[in-house]
Symmetry: C2
């Protein structure tokens, strides 16, 4: 299950996209940070290691938060059980809002963009990763296999039909929401953000040499990372 | 061949993405406009109909330009035979640069973004359409078919391997260049642009009712349109 995945047990360095995600974060020293969908709290720990002023880790799952409190507690970290759609912080509460692989679980992406924008100070940053539209378009969310069981290619269908997908993940049905690239970008723009970077991480040559099976991760994008900023002056 | 395609003969309204493309253009009245890869010149005609000050239509193909001069000539329109990589206009020459389905033919996207940025006045706009990374990733650029010839899905592979693709188009080998979504966005950002809109056009309900076979165009994105702006003040 989730708690046995490398990224859950070993933390951020076991997540292939972490180096790219980290490169998108602004300097965190003395910053007030919100982590939407904090899971086991690894990002909260990292944020405080960077000498942030404080971080709130939000998650809807009490089980996740239990593990977060157990594994990644410390001064300046507050864990909060709340649905991301219910964010309701006073304007300007945070300097940085981050979210790692959580936004594909919400059916209210545009609302969250607006709420995050409102919760940020002027010049504040919103950095997130989410499952890539190429990955979420089909409910199977799996390769298309040949008769010998080989991975022929990644199938895309229903790309323009945004909305609910029931995917199998670790033998459980998980409800996710498919959105197009355009919707991901325009939701931020409509909320008032400036786009500062878009990344579709791939394994580095060093990683490919060490883990040749990661080659398939170059065949289709699995995550998209977007960095956005609230303008400093309006 | 190309000259028999509806969009070549009938002009912009025969191109499914035109309504979306047009919606991304700023007001054109009194603007100095450059059209990169002007083809038969339909966009140049449209630009002048909007009472632009002038438009330069650039294309590498003398055959295209012959047709453009024949079909879409008029006061204010200049056709110029030049490779888009060789753009070399004085800084601030244009208020609007547009390009319709041409940039997937260049291996030098980042360079062109920089050159376009340089050629624009402060506050100027760059609006383009190009083949979507989902469409260009595989060289086949075709559906994956079932044994009964039905379109099973759109196959994606080699997504992270950017570069040259030799595709078949109207029975001819055509060299195109595949780039990721991230590269398309970041090339603009690195050149100094602000992203103002991203679109992945799909047939409207009205079009789907009139042309039910267009349903497949909702199954995968074929084009991506990006609107960007050079900041007004630096």
């Amino acid at each position: 299950n989730y708690s046995q995945m490398a990224r859950s047990v070993e933390g951020l360095n076991a997540a292939g996209e972490w180096e790219v995600f980290r490169s998108l974060l602004p300097p965190l020293q003395d910053k007030r940070v919100l982590d939407i969908g904090c899971g086991f709290g690894w990002h909260c720990r990292y944020v405080m290691e960077q000498q942030a002023a404080s971080v709130i880790g939000m998650d809807l799952s009490e089980k996740m938060l239990e593990q977060a409190r157990l594994r990644n507690n410390g001064p300046g970290i507050t864990y909060l059980r709340e649905a991301m759609e219910d964010i309701d912080f006073p304007p300007g509460s945070f300097d940085v809002v981050l979210s790692s692989l959580a936004l594909h679980y919400t059916g209210h992406y545009d609302l969250i963009c607006r709420k995050v924008h409102n919760s940020l100070s002027a010049g504040g940053h919103f950095v997130f990763s989410t499952e890539h539209p190429v990955f979420t378009a089909m409910e199977t969310q799996d390769w298309y296999y040949g008769t010998a069981g080989q991975r022929l290619h990644w199938p895309v269908d229903h790309y323009q039909d945004e909305g609910r997908r029931v995917a199998r993940f670790l033998d459980t049905d998980v409800v996710k929401y498919h959105r197009t690239v355009a919707t991901l970008i325009n939701g931020l723009l409509d909320a008032g953000f400036i786009i500062t970077r878009v990344e579709e991480p791939k394994p580095s040559p060093a990683v490919l040499e060490k883990y040749p099976e990661m080659k398939d991760e170059t065949r289709r994008p699995i995550f998209i990372l977007i960095a956005a900023q609230k303008p400093s002056a309006v």
